[in-house]
Amino acid sequence: MLINHPILGPRDAGEFVYKGDASLIRRPDWQADDAVAQFIDYGYLRDNPAGLHRELWFHEQGDRSWLVVTRDTTTHEITKVELARDVARAEGRSK
């Protein structure tokens, strides 16, 4: 698999480490009333879809940036690659 890194261009997937579902960017609020339930969900439950999946990859043997890759889990075809930083900021994280 080749991952088309937004800064570095196409890179071999072997340079990356896979983390999992990109919803992990949305860490729950630890002060919420139902924080425990939210963290159980966040830590342990996954949609695990067959089809399009947005997922986190870490460019460990490259520029060490985190990417959000949109990939089809039934064909392995990658349709979109974004910097995780941009995705998180667009969601209002760490302004």
Partner: protein, 416 residues
């Protein structure tokens, strides 16, 4: 029809005209007491023990393709009970004991071969960890022996014990471990379940659950609605896709694991060897092919085929420890979809829906679990209480902090 040596001779002398089909290809009835979803090893074993041990009737196994087409027919056939933790080891030891008597039990030749399994050691820290695991195995009656490098060389003279990065410093052996003909396990359980009146319904995909007032009353399938008092999901790598239809999200990711077989060779490798540090394990099939594999590819996948980096990684690991492997040609390779759980251990439990039960999360090691998984799941279905070896396999262990994490990797499925 009972299989026996006498029957083989009689058929040989009469032109093999007396062999009938091993099981009926059933058509679905309107209503059952139990509908088991998934005709893999676990689903078929569940149906068999439900009928045989727990004296239940009106049981159907519903399979979307053909039985044995899933992971039960794709795995590398290794059985063992060499686990460390209390939640696991009694269960896998129970399974190994069921394997030891399986062929008599099922009246079917599943080629159970207790040729032994050896985990290689390369460092002092690893030796300490393996001694601890060996002691846990001995405490659970599974048996274990720590072997020196000399003992390993005597049995496996071709191993490269002086690899610069991973020299072989010993190994943990379980002599009762080994291999079983995987397809024959599916066929043997199918035939035995059929003989106890179980309907095996192939080419019948479950597309939804009928849930009324919080209780499951049956399944929607590609061959129409089938009513059931109890519905038992047992679909391994497809678990999340199926349970989503009952509104559930699972502590599971689906990942692809690849396996490889070389051309047939003369007898070379008497037992099973695992080189965990180098992501490689291998055995030799009775046909002579070297059967080997390594790590999962590492990213969510439902593709049933892997990619080349893992092929390279597995072959490099193999060459490092087993240099004469380089002379053999690769004959076949394939992939299967693993239900990788958040702590690397399985789930056999009720769900929030009355009458709907779940069995899954077997990761890359569910073949060896087949008999005990079927037995424990049947116990849960028939009595609504967990079998004594499977009490830890609950859904709520992630919420209560009772994870069964053999490798101590945390909630990262691709590391288990």
């Amino acid at each position: 029809m009972h299989y026996s040596g006498f029957k083989v001779i009689k058929e040989a002398l009469t032109g093999h005209r007396g062999w009938g089909p091993a099981w009926r290809d059933a058509t679905p009835k309107a209503q059952y007491d139990y509908v088991i979803i998934g005709g893999g090893g676990h689903g078929l074993a569940t149906a068999y023990y439900l009928a045989k041990e727990f004296k239940q009737a009106r049981i159907a196994v519903v399979e979307k393709g053909w039985i044995g087409g899933g992971n039960v027919g794709r795995n590398t056939t290794i059985i063992r009970s060499n686990y460390l933790l209390d939640g696991n080891e009694p269960f896998y030891e129970f399974s190994l004991q069921l394997w030891e008597n399986l062929e008599q039990e099922l009246n079917y030749n599943a080629m159970v071969s207790q040729r032994g399994i050896l985990n290689l050691i390369h460092s002092d820290a690893q030796r300490d960890a393996f001694i601890r695991r060996g002691n846990a195995m001995i405490l659970n009656g599974a048996g274990a022996e720590l072997l020196s490098t000399e003992q390993i060389v005597a049995r496996y003279p071709f191993l490269n014990v002086n690899n610069a990065r991973f020299p072989i410093k010993g190994g943990l052996a379980q002599h009762r471990g080994g291999t079983v003909r995987h397809d024959a396990v599916a066929w043997g359980y199918a035939r035995a379940a059929d003989r106890h009146g179980v309907d095996i319904i192939q080419n019948c995909e479950v597309t939804g659950f009928r849930i009324e007032n919080g209780a499951c009353t049956g399944v929607e399938t590609s061959r129409g609605f089938i009513g059931a008092k109890k519905v038992a999901a047992c679909v391994a790598g497809s678990s999340s896709r199926l349970m989503e239809k009952a509104g559930m999200r699972l502590p599971i990711e689906s990942h692809v694991l690849q396996a490889f077989v070389s051309e047939g060779l003369k007898p070379l490798l008497p037992g099973v060897i695992t080189f965990g540090a180098g992501h490689f394990y291998c055995s030799q099939s009775d046909k002579g092919g070297l059967v080997f594999g390594g790590d999962i590819d590492g990213y969510n996948s439902y593709a049933q085929r892997g990619n080349l980096p893992v092929v390279e990684d597995v072959c490099e690991g193999g060459m490092a420890i087993f240099p004469n492997l380089g002379r053999a040609r690769l004959l076949r390779m394939w992939g299967g979809i693993m239900d990788m759980s958040m702590d690397g251990s399985p789930i056999i439990d009720r769900t929030h829906v009355d009458g709907l039960y779940f069995n899954g999360g077997w990761c890359y090691g569910g073949f060896k679990a087949t008999p005990a998984s079927g037995f424990a799941y049947a116990h849960l279905l028939a009595t609504d209480t967990p079998h004594k070896t499977a009490t830890a396999y609950r859904f709520d262990r992630f919420a209560t902090g009772h994870m069964i994490d053999e490798k101590g990797m945390g909630n990262q499925p691709n590391l288990h």
